[in-house]
């Protein structure tokens, strides 16, 4: 069974201001490259409305990778998190 990782990117006002649209594009391009490389893990990127996390004063963008919330998300941290989730059960690719 192919594994699926769900990445939710907050696209509320504050998070978009802090770059969440570009974050979505980067994750989508990561998913694409992994697919090209033969990974069987599917990465699903979802835009979600304001998670209400921004109201507490912590800066966005907020990204949730398989349930784990990353505040002030920077692309490298998010990518690493996604990759670590891929690694678990991935046997087909050499990630």
């Amino acid at each position: 069974m192919a594994k699926k990782i769900v990445v939710e990117v907050c696209t509320g006002t504050h998070c978009v201001l802090m770059g969440s649209m570009h974050m979505m594009d980067s994750i989508a391009s990561l998913a694409e490259i992994r697919e090209e490389m033969g990974s069987t893990t599917e990465i699903e990127v979802k835009a979600v409305p304001c998670l209400n996390l921004c109201k507490s004063g912590t800066r966005g963008p907020f990204v949730i990778v398989d349930g784990k919330t990353i505040p002030q998300a920077e692309a490298d941290v998010v990518m690493a998190e996604i990759m670590s989730h891929c690694n678990d059960e991935c046997s087909n690719c050499d990630c």
């Binding site: 974050m23 409305p49 304001c50």
Partner: protein, 504 residues
């Protein structure tokens, strides 16, 4: 490569400054002259003690201070004498339109003085036996030094042959990102080798701002003046450029964006594509009447950076740039005819529009210009959660052709369709160019007589307005969104738009 279109820490800082000013503008006591808030701003934006981007937090914060001044519409402070951070703030914190040129400036001490365009031998050079670099150089500029090949930059004519010949890819071309982005060739150097903008050449396309990896270039904003106008009870009409679709996030539909703008206290929101429809008809008629007899070709007028660049590059042909009001102006005129006391804010992707709004014949109609990025800062500061709002609609709709003005090719297409509506036999050959560097080539062809009878569509930004420096969405995504919204219009061409004839 360029950082244009990527989200980097620089983008973040720029946007935080906009948000910071918007928050102040909303929260301050309108009668007070207290600007203490801005002494603290740099500490909010650059927290902590460890420098993240430059050699020290002190420098980072000093640069933030200048960015804040610019974003309030103030000039930079002198670097060689003392001036208080808040000097001039009292005067600029009003609803009065007061944008002063220069609009785009280099913050001198933020500039790293990148070396202008040159070829360089990197440490990948193995000082190989064959060293083909020396033999292919037509001007004998490459020699073999102690550790590696050396290029004599005095002699080098930048032909690039050495780079192609090197089996290790050790030779690179490198230059100044700002100068490379500038199609008007307005970037020069000051006595310390730092970038300096030749204001006579600058058409404020704004691309250097988003291309400098050190965020050393910035423009001025009217966030404070706009919000002050809203808060002091002025009637503010927002007109939003065709490229707005999708700029505020994938879930912020056009309907939600309209609601969001109303939420900010602007009474009325209109799409500038409506003014584009007015323009398409005018431009079509101009074309049919004057080309090729009185004017060998007709250049589109909607992109102010292109229009002023074209007039400066080919002054003898300045009359060939359409005499048509830009969509922004056409829309604003319509509003002020209806309500002369209104204040009009143009919201768009464009920085050159800020200059256009200072032109003598435009200033009475357009009071403020802000970019999507600036508007997003305002939404965030005011806590307007776009995704949670109900949908609204524009009261007056624009045609699909008008909405497509935002994407390269869209303007020419709209004009062709309006010409065809009048005379199906009339051919409209088109030449088009995106980026000023390409526009320059197109102008040279026109000068050489190769554009006779043509419609010339010029756009300073690649991709058209969706590629403007004040956007938030990536170009491919934005172009798709614009097209989808255009398809939803009830009218195909400008002539089909039933709203053009009714008096608003």
């Amino acid at each position: 490569m360029s950082i244009r279109g990527l989200f980097t820490p620089i983008t973040k800082i720029r946007r935080q400054v906009f948000e910071e000013i918007a928050r102040f503008a909303y929260e301050r006591d309108l009668k007070s002259d207290d600007f203490y808030y801005f002494y603290e701003s740099p500490y909010r934006i650059i927290p902590g003690e460890v420098a993240k981007y430059r050699d020290s937090v002190f420098k980072e914060r000093t640069i933030i201070r200048e960015r804040i001044r610019l974003a309030m519409g103030l000039p930079l402070r002198p670097t060689t004498s003392y001036q208080n951070l808040t000097d001039g703030m009292k005067e600029c914190a009003s609803s009065k339109k007061q944008l002063e040129l220069p609009l785009v400036t280099v913050i001198p001490f933020a500039c790293e003085a990148c070396k202008p365009d040159h070829f360089k031998v990197t440490n990948n050079c193995k000082k190989c036996l064959a060293h083909p670099c020396t033999s292919v150089c037509p001007v004998n500029a490459v020699s073999i030094g102690k550790d590696s090949a050396i290029i004599d930059s005095e002699k080098c004519i930048k032909c690039g042959r050495c780079r192609e010949a090197c089996p290790y890819g050790a030779i690179i071309r490198s230059g100044r990102p700002c100068a490379e982005a500038c199609g008007a060739k307005a970037i020069e150097s000051d006595e310390l080798g730092r970038a300096k903008i030749n204001q006579d050449k600058c058409v404020a396309c704004g691309l250097c701002i988003v291309s400098c990896p050190f965020a050393a270039i910035a423009d001025k904003s009217e966030i404070l003046q706009l919000i002050t106008a809203i808060r002091s009870g002025e009637k503010v009409y927002a007109i939003i450029a065709p490229s707005f679709v999708g700029q505020f996030g994938p879930l912020a539909t056009p309907g939600k964006i309209i609601s969001g703008i109303r939420e900010l206290g602007m009474d009325y929101v209109m799409e500038v594509s409506y003014g584009a429809d007015i323009g398409s008809i005018h431009e079509a008629e101009e074309f049919m009447e004057h080309v090729p007899d009185e004017k060998p070709f007709l250049g589109t007028s909607c992109c102010p950076a292109w229009a002023s660049f074209a007039k400066a590059t080919l002054p003898d042909y300045a009359y060939c740039i359409a005499d048509t009001n830009t969509p922004m102006v056409a829309t604003a005129v319509k509003i002020k005819e209806h309500d002369p006391n209104a204040k009009v804010v143009f919201i768009g992707p464009c920085i050159a529009k800020k200059i256009e709004a200072t032109y003598e014949d435009v200033a009475p109609y357009v009071d403020y210009v802000i970019t999507y990025e600036e508007l997003m800062g305002i939404f965030s500061a005011k806590g307007v959660e776009l995704t949670e709002l109900e949908e609204s609609e524009f009261d007056v709709e624009a045609s699909a052709d008008g909405r497509n003005y935002a994407v390269s090719g869209g303007v020419a297409n709209a004009v062709i369709n309006t010409v065809k509506n009048r005379d199906p036999q009339r051919e409209v050959p088109v030449m088009k160019a995106e980026t000023l560097a390409e526009c320059r080539k197109m102008l040279l062809l026109a000068k050489a007589g190769k554009a006779t009878g043509h419609l010339l569509e010029g756009m300073a930004c690649s991709g058209g307005c969706v590629g403007g420096p004040g956007t938030l969405s990536a170009i491919p995504r934005a172009s798709k969104d614009v097209k989808a919204f255009a398809d939803k219009s009830n009218f195909k061409t400008a002539d089909d738009n039933i709203y053009l004839n009714i008096k608003k």
